[in-house]
Symmetry: C2
Subunit: 397 residues, 2 copies
């Protein structure tokens, strides 16, 4: 009741000349209303696969990852996932140990979320206050935990905001299927007005942030080295079975690259290459590692690696690009090997995140038209159900 007392104390003198009864009762009511029905926040639910924060989280992270049938289909998956997680844990733990004992993705997502919500309060006062929630697919905070927090905050309006610029069924698609399940389980189907930012691969703020980080890195070269520099955009690869099913990710990454290069006025030659292939099946190439070796053989000395499909550092940048490929570059004679910083706490980027949400809120669109179209080779009932659920809430469908 402290705020009521304060409100009464701060009453302007002229009001005190009114009938005490009227004035005090109206002020009392206003104060009571503020107290008990504080305007709930517009929720921004930031979705991502996530990464293990501590070494002891590695096993469960892998188990959840290999259990996700939206990401991969394995024979006898509930058994094989356990076996693979157990088998791969030691080496993956070792990789995380080498990058400081865990993934910094939660730290960065929190920071991005905090800055984003502050900017949003300024540029979109009509939807303020804004509050970010984080839903990771394979580690905590989980989707269910995020939904629980939103429930406690009495959220009525929520924007699901994928933290993957380019859409893939394996990442954003999997998170949305999980969310659909979570919304039903938490009984939040009618209490919340949902909408989705499903891709933002060519948003000018994202492109600008990436391009400016590339320019910053290029400045580390001498003019002579810079003249010879090659930009290698590196994105997580996909199995060809996913590409051939019709996943839009490769084309969307290609479009991101073209936009960044246009912003850099085509001053440098570049290639889009693909990293993190595992297992015996065919994946989309060229592999980042092969490209480094290939350009080494062609006598290229100055390669600039750009993570184009991640928004913060994780194992793929800190271990794979920096350590593993750094060593490979050295062996390949690439003396000027550099890796462009991840977007992390970059100010242009956090501003872009806020702009993307603001533009989405203004558009009044539930989700892009593109999202409703399943892949031509899709046979997933989950993908179908998730789309049908959101379409049933969408007046344009």
């Amino acid at each position: 009741m402290a705020s009521l007392t304060l409100a009464l104390r701060r009453t302007a003198p002229q009001l005190r000349t009114q009938s005490f009864r009227n004035a005090s009762s109206s002020m009392f009511m206003r104060a009571i209303t503020t107290e008990t029905t504080k305007k709930p926040p517009t929720a921004i639910l930031m979705t991502n696969m996530g990464g293990p924060e501590k070494l002891d989280d590695v096993h469960d992270f892998l188990l959840n990852l290999f259990s996700d049938r939206d990401l991969m289909q394995l024979p006898l998956q509930s058994l094989t996932s356990k076996w693979i997680a157990k088998r791969r844990s030691p080496s993956i733990r070792e990789q995380y140990a080498q990058i400081g004992g865990g993934s910094p993705i939660l730290k960065w997502t929190r920071k991005q979320g905090e800055v984003m919500e502050k900017i949003l309060d300024e540029i979109s006062p009509e939807t303020a206050p804004h509050k970010h929630y984080i839903a990771f697919r394979y580690v905590t905070p989980s989707t269910d935990a995020a939904l629980e927090a939103m429930k406690k905050d009495n959220v009525k309006r929520a924007v699901v905001f994928t933290q993957y610029p380019q859409y893939s069924c394996s990442t954003t698609g999997s998170s949305l299927n999980e969310l659909h399940h979570g919304i039903k389980a938490a009984g939040m189907e009618d209490s919340v007005d949902w909408s989705i930012i499903d891709r933002w691969n060519t948003h000018p703020g994202f492109i600008e942030a990436t391009a400016s980080l590339i320019e910053k890195k290029l400045k580390e070269y001498t003019p002579e080295e810079r003249k010879d520099a090659v930009i290698l955009f590196s994105a997580h690869s996909l199995p060809m079975s996913v590409v051939n099913r019709g996943d839009t990710y490769p084309a969307e990454v290609g479009a991101s690259v073209q936009h960044v290069m246009k912003r850099l006025e085509g001053k440098y030659p570049h290639r889009l290459v693909w990293q993190s292939q595992v297992g015996p099946s065919a994946w989309l190439g060229p592999q980042t590692s092969d490209a480094i070796e290939g350009y080494g053989k062609q006598g290229k000395k100055n390669l600039v690696l750009v993570p184009i499909a991640f928004t913060s550092d994780h194992i793929e940048t800190l271990f794979e690009l920096d350590l593993e490929y750094g060593e490979l570059a050295e062996k390949s004679g690439v003396t000027g090997f550099k890796r462009v910083e991840a977007l992390n706490g970059n100010e242009i980027f956090t501003r872009a995140l806020a702009d993307i949400v603001k533009e989405h809120l203004d558009s009044k669109q539930l989700v892009s038209r593109q999202w409703y179209l399943r892949c031509p080779g899709c046979t997933s009932e989950k993908c179908k159900d998730t789309r049908e659920y959101f379409a049933s809430k969408d007046s344009t469908q």
Copy 2:
């Protein structure tokens, strides 16, 4: 000498008052100069793979195609190419017979070239006159014939203009290697100032022409059908060996698609799919045919096919898309199957061709920086030599 007589007859009366000797000698000299050293045209060399104009050209077209080691490497290629050309000729002849007895690519390229050169004369008078030449890779007019014609016209400045919007080693790359060989054979290394337009996959005029043709086609639907319409951008596929070598074509096609969809304000869901796969090796997917069947199964009735990597009709549009896939669509329950017109004689497109050349001439660039970078997996000496040759003429290299 008719023009000299005419020039003398048209002399303004006031000039006749001058000393006859001075006046007539200066006019005589000017006329002589015009007659003997007429300003040679700025050549626009339009390169393309080409297609057989008549059924009797089919065999040689196939033989040249299967002999091209820039396009594919076959064991004992000089023998195998003959065998395949002979074996495949009857069925390919039959396909050309069904689309009117030959490829219309020469007709359309000529028309595009004629309109382009007229517009160029207007918008770039400082480089006028402009004249187009056509160099097809596998049929006449050949690169050598085009170079011979340019020699006759005393060409001093030539712009090589690939007619493939998106760069691939298999198309534009092959033409440039052939041209490099031809320039040397014709002794045109120093007599001509060469430059190259190597890709133009997101040029606003190309995007506008494509988008407006899609809009035109969509108007054929009822509003209800249009609401359900799916746009399928179809491009010629590439073998995965070429993709994994680092060919930039898939990413560049992806960027074209994204630009067209941005111009269409994301109003329709879409997919990029790949056609014309042959042989037993792995090619980039999803296949256009699989996508048609898949969407048929998902209950999609209205599919709009868009040729996104061809600038005029040929066998891949008139036979494969219209006839073969038209039939497949019918079988798959896709009742509203439509194919967007090829760019052919489209006025926005021919204007775009002129704009692309004008912007290139103004840029004073020999070729894009991107072109100098070979694929990371490239082992072709020809690709290396062609780049080294043009780099030796390029002051920025």
